[in-house]
Symmetry: C2
Subunit: 215 residues, 2 copies
DNA sequence: GTCTATAATACGATAGAC
DNA sequence: GTCTATCGTATTATAGAC
């Protein structure tokens, strides 16, 4: 029923659409660069170049400068990334198959884009965790939303406290798998993370003998 | 038997010893800054300042400049970090208790250092994965060593293919937990990762009815 | 070996013409 | 709103005195 689109994944970090306006082009270029090169490693000059926009336009649309652009990027790509994962989970009805499938799909995409794009907020989060409090909070808010959303999803199958731990494990395994996958240029970690999540979901299901929600 | 030292953890990213020579002071200062602020976010001038060393000494001891310093940092702190984790695992005889205890200890340390220090190579790895091939390879080598070491450790209790997946899960959960913990300023993810690893090890043990090694 | 001065370049940010 | 020129200030790296 819900297994609709097989794999027409949203671009997420793709270039801006053809006739996009300047502001949109800047946002897309910044998202790509921040995700791939980190906060300090991204220069606004290159953002303007990649966006085919004049340098001054960055400060016209984002008066807060680099920090405003970075916070906008974290708060927009964060929810998009969660929506993408939740969409993959919906492609399989069985929860064990769903998590395995989601990670397998992520593994395919990582290979497809030459190991360039993983989690759009992880690099930024580590870069700013100790140096930029507003950006750290933005990343923390994103992770908190992910945890809520993941807990809600797993709560359809297991008790809430177990669902929360499953959601946490899902986020941590995703982040760790992308870190290893991008660094070693190997989709294996993502697939292994899928197998691991399958085991964890199965264990939680086994410990939840009744119907979907126990309360 | 092996449960010797309770928690006298090595410093890892601490300042250089009192009478340390210039080269050692530079290495320690660079390790701290690279781990906390990332590759592009770390300036060699500040490395010299923190090391209480003249700026030119950096290029005297590390003719390769910033890249040489960074690669040295990755290849030295990487094995140190694995040794620290393996040491924590040795503090409990039962493998399930061992992984739970290791993550609980890591959670304590993260709080103790005000959420500053997590994995010393993760931030660097994400920063350079797409921009600096030699450093990316250095980080990949470190992760490969961790995987081998972790597989060997879990192979004492379960079959080798299961041990490898457990080691992968341990690395990924560790990285994900430090990412979430540092970003949200919460030791909860590390403790949750410990519970999750405990579940996984128990599942693997249940599937390995015979003695320690099945082959 | 230790330390300083400086070169060459890139950065974020701003001013101001159009 | 679009675009360019420029201001300070960082950066990495080097040259050279001591």
């Amino acid at each position: 029923m819900s297994a609709a689109t097989p794999s027409n994944h949203p671009p997420l970090l793709a270039e801006a659409p053809a006739g996009a306006d300047t502001r949109t082009r800047i946002r897309h270029a910044a998202a790509r660069l921040f995700a791939r090169r980190g906060y300090a490693g991204t220069g606004l000059k290159q953002v303007a170049t990649d966006a085919a926009a004049p340098f001054g336009s960055i400060y016209h649309f984002f008066p807060g400068g680099k920090d405003a652009l970075a916070e906008d990027m974290i708060r927009t790509t964060g929810p998009q990334f969660m929506a993408l994962v939740l969409g993959l989970l919906e492609e399989r009805a069985d929860p064990v198959e769903a998590v395995v499938h989601a990670f397998d799909s992520a593994a395919e995409e990582l290979v497809a884009d030459s190991y360039a794009d993983g989690c759009p907020v992880a690099t930024m989060a580590l870069d700013v965790a100790d140096t930029n409090e507003p950006l750290r909070r933005a990343a923390a808010d994103v992770f908190a939303e992910w945890l809520d959303g993941g807990t809600a999803w797993f709560s359809r199958h297991v008790a809430r406290d177990r669902a929360r731990d499953l959601a946490l494990a899902m986020i941590m395994l995703t982040e760790g798998a992308f870190l290893l996958g991008r660094t070693t240029r190997d989709p294996g970690p993502l697939r292994a993370a899928g197998r691991t999540m399958g085991t964890l979901v199965q264990s939680a299901l086994d410990a939840t003998p009744r119907g979907p929600r126990s309360r």
